[in-house]
């Protein structure tokens, strides 16, 4: 499996990271080195082996689905780059 410039562009967009067109070949090259390293996993026989989902056999902790916290909009908005009238402000989303 080899990643070309077009795939690199697509992955960068999926990850929502802007990469300049000139930088795409070098990025594709780095991906290929890392994926080449990862390809070793194909040597392993994994027939009948379940993917590991949790390192401990315990069940995830559960609780009643009720509100346990809240009522602090100022704190929630405190670190926002742009907050107005109790909301996060973003560029226009709907045309």
């Amino acid at each position: 499996m080899s990643i070309d410039k077009d795939t690199a562009r697509k992955v960068a967009h999926l990850a929502r990271i802007r990469v300049a067109e000139d930088d795409l070949p070098a990025l594709a090259d780095e991906f290929n080195k890392i994926l080449g390293f990862i390809e070793q996993l194909n040597e392993v026989n994994v027939d009948g082996i379940e993917p590991m989902t949790s390192v401990t056999p315990q069940r995830l902790f559960r609780r009643e689905d009720v509100v346990t916290d809240g009522g602090m909009p100022e704190k929630v908005l405190k670190n926002a780059p742009d907050a107005r009238e109790g909301f996060f402000a973003v560029p226009k989303v709907v045309e």
């Binding site: 999926l14 929502r16 990025l27 996993l41 390192v55």
Partner: protein
């Protein structure tokens, strides 16, 4: 008392309880050292006022007498990955510039409740992604050990923590470990670092990198100190759904040094091609030390070891790409300036391009790729299956009666900052070759300084324990520490 900053936690605790020293005196001694640490770049946000306030409160609590916690009045450094209320918590990333959490992580809450004093925040690799502390927005942290003109890496990602403890800027520090980020820097700086069993320490309020691998732990000057500080950091937390609801033992009380009859496994797969003779020799010496202390040494096999790093470099980036999706310029941290006509997708893409450093971008994109349609099974699910096999290797060793596994901590001593810049990324990843299996299997692992290489740089050995048996593991480490008798300290040049 002189050189209060050089004390261990246990000695400081005893002196505090006897009234020979106050927490304010200890704290001021450390703050004085931090003032002159510019060349190490270990502390990146100083919190002198908080420290002195906490120290005065600790002194008042100690003066009341009674049963004060062992951490009461002990000045520590906190890795920048921990959210600390009202104090910069940036994960060494530009994207969290100016972020001051309105809340406190569970671990720092527990430490502060026990009376610990926060001196400041410590340098690290950006989002804990790195093995040399060279990906930090704050610049490189530097190893206090120096043998020639070069500045050496303190390791990573908890490089600032390791540098600060080794240089006696603080008595101990918090670290986190996703693939070796406590144990590798501890080995590079001649200190002790333990990653407990996954689930022992709450992850709440610790900036997430790879949630199924991340665990916090202490970085200290001795195994006893590791036991004391780990106890304060552990415990069930309903705010972390993977936190274990198990009692936390008194780890310090389990340090007897008696390991007669303990079975120590030596995995032959950890003998890597091209491993320096010094590492091989140190490993044999460690084996001999444990044998002399009465342990039974057996050879074991962990056949899937070779596949741990490739599995890690699928799973960790995959989880990181999901965890780091939250840095979008909306709720906190950096937001890029937009040109006329640019919309929300431009905002996301520019913000993340400006805010994330190169290594973080690379890992987020690799993670995005392995999770994308058509590749999920081939990469991500296959890696998770291999992870099951790696864990099964350990389970089988423990089923044979093995109590702990002895391995080298790192494939080399600390290397020079900048020396790996032109290497391909996989070369840097190989630093974690002995530590990463432990995260994949969720096991506890500890590194103990065990000797110096020919140039005079510290080398460490790693012990891996059974799940939830940190107490036993610490006791084996305590015996190894006693036998190794490592007392060297870096000469002050900074």
């Amino acid at each position: 008392m002189s050189d209060l900053n050089k004390l261990t936690i246990s000695d400081a605790r005893d002196a505090l309880k006897k009234g020979d020293v106050t927490s304010v005196e200890l704290t001021e001694a450390c703050l004085g050292q931090i003032d002159g640490q510019g060349a190490l770049n270990a502390f990146v946000h100083n919190t002198d006022e908080i420290a002195l306030e906490q120290a005065r409160a600790a002194d008042a609590r100690l003066a009341e007498g009674g049963d004060t916690p062992a951490m009461c009045g002990i000045p520590i450094g906190v890795k920048d990955l921990f959210c600390t209320r009202g104090v910069e918590s940036q994960a060494a990333s530009r994207i969290l510039e100016g972020f001051k959490p309105e809340y406190e992580s569970t671990i720092t809450t527990q430490l502060f409740d026990d009376g610990a004093v926060m001196l400041g925040k410590l340098n690290m690799d950006e989002f804990a992604m790195g093995s040399s502390n060279e990906t930090s927005v704050y610049g490189d942290a530097v190893n206090p050990w120096k043998v020639d003109a070069r500045n050496l890496t303190p390791g990573g990602s908890s490089g600032g923590s390791a540098s600060a403890v080794a240089a006696d800027l603080c008595l101990a520090a918090t670290g986190t470990d996703t693939g070796g980020s406590i144990r590798q820097p501890a080995a590079f700086t001649g200190i002790t670092g333990i990653k407990p069993t996954y689930g022992r320490c709450s992850r709440w309020g610790v900036v997430a990198f790879a949630s199924s691998l991340d665990q916090a732990g202490p970085m200290t000057k001795s195994v006893r100190d590791a036991a004391i500080m780990l106890e304060s950091m552990c415990g069930h937390d309903p705010k972390d759904s993977t936190s274990a609801d198990l009692p936390v033992p008194n780890f310090e009380a389990m340090l007897t040094g008696d390991i007669k009859g303990k079975v120590i496994g030596i995995p032959h797969e950890y003998r890597m091609d091209g491993m320096p003779d010094e590492i091989e020799t140190l490993w044999s010496e460690g084996r001999k030390m444990l044998e002399d202390a009465g342990a039974r040494i057996i050879d074991i096999s962990l056949p899937h070891t070779k596949y741990a790093l490739p599995a890690y470099y699928v799973i960790a980036p995959a989880e990181a790409s999901s965890n780091l999706a939250r840095y979008d310029g909306v709720r906190y941290g950096h937001r890029a300036k937009l040109d006329t006509g640019e919309g929300i997708v431009d905002m996301y893409e520019k913000t993340r391009a400006e805010g994330f450093g190169h290594e973080v971008q690379r890992r987020v994109m690799v993670g995005t790729y392995v999770l994308s349609a058509g590749f999920y099974d081939a990469y991500y699910n296959r890696a998770r299956r291999v992870r099951s096999l790696i864990k099964r290797d350990f389970d089988q060793a423990f089923d044979q009666g093995v109590d702990a596994i002895l391995t080298p901590a790192t494939p080399s001593a600390a290397f020079g900052l900048g020396e790996m810049t032109d290497a391909d990324p996989v070369q840097m990843y190989l630093n974690d070759i002995f530590t990463v299996t432990v995260n994949l299997a969720g096991l506890p692992g500890i590194t103990v300084p065990a000797g110096l290489d020919a140039k005079g740089l510290p080398l460490g050995l790693q012990l891996i324990g059974r799940p939830w048996e940190e107490g036993d593991l610490l006791n084996v480490a305590y015996a190894l520490e006693g036998a190794a008798g490592f007392v060297s300290k870096p000469e002050k040049w900074w």
